[in-house]
């Protein structure tokens, strides 16, 4: 028999009390993908016969159900046979559920009355025994049939979209996203926790592989963002609270006191110049340089408005000084300024909060913090930056000596079971960049210690070739130790990198003057907290989780909240920028639609049955459940509900029901799945002995009689 077996097996089955349920069953061969292991013809025949009482009126098999003729089988049957439920046994619903639901809708039936059950991914592809696979296919199909009987027609839920967008994080990804949306004509609130936007990129000197000057390419974007009429820039600010749901979020933002009136400040910089208090700049200069107690982090900062570092300000410490105030011509200094909370309403949120660097001190054997001439990658960026503390001179910690030999260690804190398992994606390229810069600036000998070299993006490998050609020495192996304890000739006064050269197959001790640790990226310490505030989820590492890692990388499980850049994992600049733009595009799509449809998989409370016990109140991570004090019942905001169903399962009164995955549907599916045993015959239930029908059960424990008589 082949896939053209069109002859349907008829059989009407009115279901008492439910109106007549008329189910059409369609079993797909998927070429030989399913039919090769599952006897699909038998499955269809069985369904028509054994599931008649369940309301199956027609069961067909076809070579490719997803093809146009396959879909037409369904639409024709709906029209001609009056079907009101459809079950397709084919591939995973993640692949074709939409296909068949759309087809169902085309024929005028509510799409949610169609179920797709997987007999390919869950059956034919993973089993070899044809009989067992066929029996399982029957069970899966019966589960779908029982389930679809309880499916209710559902309508999508529509919400209005507020055109404003909140972008959290003013790094390159956030800036890009903000600009894209603002340029399209919609308002954006760009919130940055630091005094200036720019993010990590603003600290870099050159960018790989093109070696453009980071500041040169970033600054214009920062300026655009700072001056764009559609962008409300909120630096030195944090998002403290988010309420609401897609289209209708309310965010509370705390603007920390700058002690400077931003409206009056001209950004002349004289305050910082006159400020007597010098402070080591741990943030922007990575501890290599100084700033003042009143400062803008760097010259190109946007906005130019400085902030007073209250911890270090002499006035705040001792009550006198006010040098800045004295010299400010604009009278912009405001020592009495307070933190301020503002509330904004937005339709969508883009989270672009970036990353932080792995703390190299955690790997004690690399000596960072102990050995002066072990530097982190960020320190090196500052050293090599012409605007940095050494004006671009690459020197040892003493500030004068140029290194003769430099070792760059890759994968510090990355691809390391003790710290982070993942690859930080950018370290290979940044290490190559460092090698190049060292060569360029000092002509020193450079060793790069790597595990694997990953140069996958455009022009990356070419850069690698170039660096090799420049004479950088590559040692494949993860250094075991970096030490000052020289014991061989030539090691004195050097720092020694102890490494197993896995290509040479031997231990090597390489004396160098300077070690640069190419530290990995990790989620910001407060990432989970912020994610929770926004109702999105994080992996156990702390990286935000995409709605789909491949197909929907900038969306999250929470409608209306998007992610861009390193918040979801390490990325280079081009990827971060691309994600910023992509997230913006997703948001713009939403805004243009003005409204959007939400999946109607929602929970709702039946107030008559709700006792107000408040068990469910803590179930919802999206705060969709609220307790109505006056009525004494809990209530679910459908638009905020993401449909996970946790509250449905938690309600002790059974007062919460969930559409799409109702108790009735799941319980029916269980019954269906257990209709057939492993051998394809009806599954034997555990049956209790019959209660004696006539009460005349003088079953006689003979032993008792004997015992008694004995």
């Amino acid at each position: 028999m082949n896939g053209n077996g069109h002859s349907p097996v008829e059989g009407a089955a009115p279901v008492p009390g439910e109106g007549e349920i008329r189910i059409g069953v369609y079993v797909c061969h998927c070429g030989s993908n399913i039919a090769g292991t599952v006897d699909v013809v038998e499955v269809a025949r069985w369904a028509a016969e054994a599931l008649k009482d369940q309301g199956v009126v027609v069961a067909r098999e076809y070579k490719f159900m997803c093809s146009s003729p396959g879909q037409e089988l369904i639409t024709d049957d709906i029209r001609n046979l009056g079907l009101n439920r459809i079950v397709v046994a084919a591939c995973s619903p993640h692949l074709h559920e939409n296909t068949f639901r759309t087809a169902t809708a085309r024929a005028g039936l509510n799409p949610y009355l169609c179920e797709l059950v997987s007999v390919r991914e869950q059956d034919s592809w993973v089993h070899t025994d044809r009989a067992a696979a066929t029996a399982k296919a029957k069970a899966i199909l019966a589960g779908g049939v029982e389930r679809v009987r309880r499916n209710a027609p559902l309508d999508a839920i529509t919400v209005d979209i507020n055109p404003a967008t909140l972008v959290v994080g003013g790094g390159i990804a956030g800036i890009q996203a903000a600009l894209e949306i603002a340029d399209a004509g919609f308002p954006v609130y760009l919130v940055e926790k630091d005094p200036s936007i720019g993010g990590h990129m603003a600290q870099f000197d050159k960018t790989f592989p093109t070696l453009d000057c980071a500041a040169c390419i970033l600054t214009p974007r920062m300026v655009s963002a700072g001056t764009h009429p559609n962008i409300t820039l909120m630096t030195w600010s944090e998002v403290t609270h988010v309420d609401g749901f897609v289209g209708n979020f309310t965010a509370t933002i705390r603007k920390k006191a700058r002690y400077v009136d931003a409206d009056l400040c001209t950004g002349c910089g004289v305050c910082a110049e006159k400020c007597p208090k010098k402070v080591i700049d741990e943030v922007y200069e990575a501890g290599l340089g100084y700033r003042k107690a009143i400062y803008t982090p760097f010259d190109q900062a946007v906005p130019r408005t400085p902030v007073i570092d209250r911890e270090n300000c002499t006035y705040f410490e001792k009550g006198t000084c006010k040098a800045c105030e004295k010299f400010c011509e604009a009278d912009a200094i405001r020592f009495d300024q307070q933190d301020e909370e503002v509330t904004i309403k937005v339709g969508n949120i883009i989270m672009a909060t970036g990353y932080e660097l792995f703390d190299a001190r955690r790997i004690a054997q690399y000596g960072y913090g102990r050995l002066p001439n072990v530097f982190t990658s960020l320190e090196f960026e500052r050293l090599s930056n012409s605007a940095g503390p050494t004006n671009g001179r690459i020197v040892l910690r003493d500030g004068v000596t140029e290194p003769k030999t430099v070792g760059v260690i890759h994968c510090v804190g990355s691809r390391d079971r003790n710290f982070n398992n993942y690859c930080s994606a950018i370290c290979c390229m940044q290490s190559l960049k460092f090698a190049h810069l060292v060569k360029e600036h000092t002509g020193a000998t450079v060793y790069n210690f790597y595990i694997d070299m990953r140069t996958t993006a455009k022009a990356y490998d070419e850069f690698y070739q170039r660096v090799m050609e420049e004479g950088t020495l590559f040692v494949r192996g993860k250094p075991a130790e970096v030490t000052e304890a020289g014991r061989l000739p030539g090691e004195e006064g050097k720092i020694i990198v102890q490494v197993e050269d896995t290509l040479a197959g031997r231990q090597r001790r390489i004396p160098v003057d300077m070690v640069v640790l190419s530290v990995g990226l990790q989620p910001r310490a407060d990432a989970k907290e912020l994610a929770t505030r926004l109702g999105i989820s994080c992996s156990s590492d702390g990286w935000a989780i995409e709605k789909h890692p491949k197909l929907d990388p900038v969306a999250t499980m929470t409608e209306g909240v998007f992610i861009a850049g390193c918040v979801s994992g390490p990325k280079d600049i081009p990827s971060s920028v691309a994600q910023g733009a992509a997230a913006a595009a997703r948001v713009l799509g939403r805004i243009q639609q003005k409204q959007m449809n939400l999946e109607p998989i929602k929970a709702s409370v039946h107030p008559d049955n709700c006792s107000g016990c408040r068990i469910c109140n803590t179930m919802c991570p999206y705060n969709a459940i609220s307790f109505l004090e006056a009525e004494g019942v809990s209530s679910i905001n459908a638009a905020m509900c993401q449909g996970c169903g946790t509250c449905v399962a938690a309600c002790p009164a059974g007062a919460i029901s969930g559409t799409g995955f109702s108790n009735e549907q799941v319980l029916a599916q269980i019954e269906g799945l257990l209709m057939v045993g492993s051998d394809g015959t009806p599954l034997k239930r555990a049956v209790f002995p019959e209660a004696h029908p006539h009460g005349n059960g003088h079953r006689q424990p003979d032993a008792v009689e004997e015992a008694v008589q004995a």
Binding site: S611, C613, I615, P689, A691, H692, H694, Q709
Partner: protein, 333 residues
């Protein structure tokens, strides 16, 4: 018995403690209303009556039969079926008939274990290891005992039930409300409750009627009542860590136990539409445990000393895993 135009009422106690009968008597002055509304043809606890009289009635001649007690012997099952045949409406009265009540916990053990335990307690003088015999040849003749069934069954597992009145026992006020509804339906002044209705109870759970203050739930530990020196008279018992079954237990009792600082033990059974009482309560309790690590979760759960008893105290014989439901489904009677 004089012929009567009044509808006939039978009240039958199967394996029960008699508390249901006491509860009916406790409707006090309304008992007169019941006597006025019905011709009581059977109420062994309170008045004379013979089962043979019931046999003599036509099928469906009894308007309403209230059955309390569970089905523990072949004899009670037989009587329940007889009464079903003779009655228009069969009402499952009280927890035993409805879901097995405390005696339903017997379904955790085999009847052999039950008999062995009962006849080998430390005060039992039974050197021969005697057990009751369904049919015993005494010196003078044969003595029969009704057979102790392998499982305790609820009424609806043995016969088709029209209405259910929950509670252990049902609160007397609710009993009258339920009977009144039936009386009104019978004399045409009120609607007949749909078949399968639960009468004399609320649509929600005990918290609905409980006056204690409630907040969101995060249970860091469950405590046993003897460990609490003083129970806060105002605050939700569950929030005090006491495993109170109120959230899952059908309303209707007036939340009497929590009002007396005693956690609800669940005698009114499950809320409307709930399939398995224990599953609902289990899910609710576990959901609000304030822990994420398995060891920590277990530490909190250790506070629930006896999970089966906690979740199935009254409903075991009606539960998904310990009921004898399939027995009557296959029974043609």
């Amino acid at each position: 018995m004089s012929p009567s135009a009044k509808p006939k009422l039978a009240i039958f106690g199967a394996a029960s403690c008699g508390g249901c009968d006491v509860a009916i008597v406790n409707i006090h002055e309304h008992i007169v209303d019941v006597a006025n509304a019905f011709d009581i043809v059977l109420w062994p606890t309170v008045m004379d009556g013979k089962y043979s009289d019931i046999e003599a009635l036509a099928d469906g001649e009894i308007a309403v039969t209230l059955v309390s007690g569970s089905m523990r012997t072949d004899e009670t099952i037989h009587l329940a079926r007889l009464l079903r045949r003779k009655s228009q409406f069969m009402v499952s009265f009280g927890s035993c008939a409805g879901e097995g009540c405390i005696p339903g916990l017997a379904n955790l053990s085999s009847r052999q274990e039950i008999l062995d335990t009962a006849f080998s307690t430390p005060s039992t003088d039974n050197p021969e290891g005697l057990r009751p015999s369904w049919e015993f040849g005494a010196a003078e003749g044969v003595l029969h005992l009704p057979e102790f069934e392998p499982l305790l069954r609820t009424l609806d597992q043995v016969v088709d039930v029209d209405y259910t009145i929950p509670g252990c026992p049902p609160e007397s006020g609710q009993i009258w409300a339920a009977l009144e509804a039936v009386v009104k339906a019978l004399n045409g002044t009120g609607p007949l409750p749909p078949k399968g209705s639960v009468l004399g109870a609320g649509e929600s759970t005990v918290c609905d009627e409980c006056g204690r203050k409630r907040d969101v739930k995060k249970i860091g530990r469950f405590v046993r009542i003897q460990q609490v020196a003083e129970i806060d008279p105002e605050l939700c018992l569950l929030e005090q860590g006491l495993p109170c079954n109120g959230p899952a237990t059908r309303s209707g009792c007036g939340a009497l136990c929590p009002a007396a600082s005693a956690p609800c033990i669940g005698c009114y059974g499950a809320a409307p539409g709930v399939i398995d009482y224990g599953a609902r309560l289990m899910s609710a309790f576990a959901s609000v445990v304030d822990a994420t690590e398995p060891a920590e979760i277990d530490r909190v759960l250790d506070g629930i000393a006896d999970p089966v008893g906690q979740f199935y105290r009254f409903s075991l014989a009606g539960s998904l895993l310990r009921s004898g439901r399939s027995a009557w489904q296959s029974d043609g009677e």
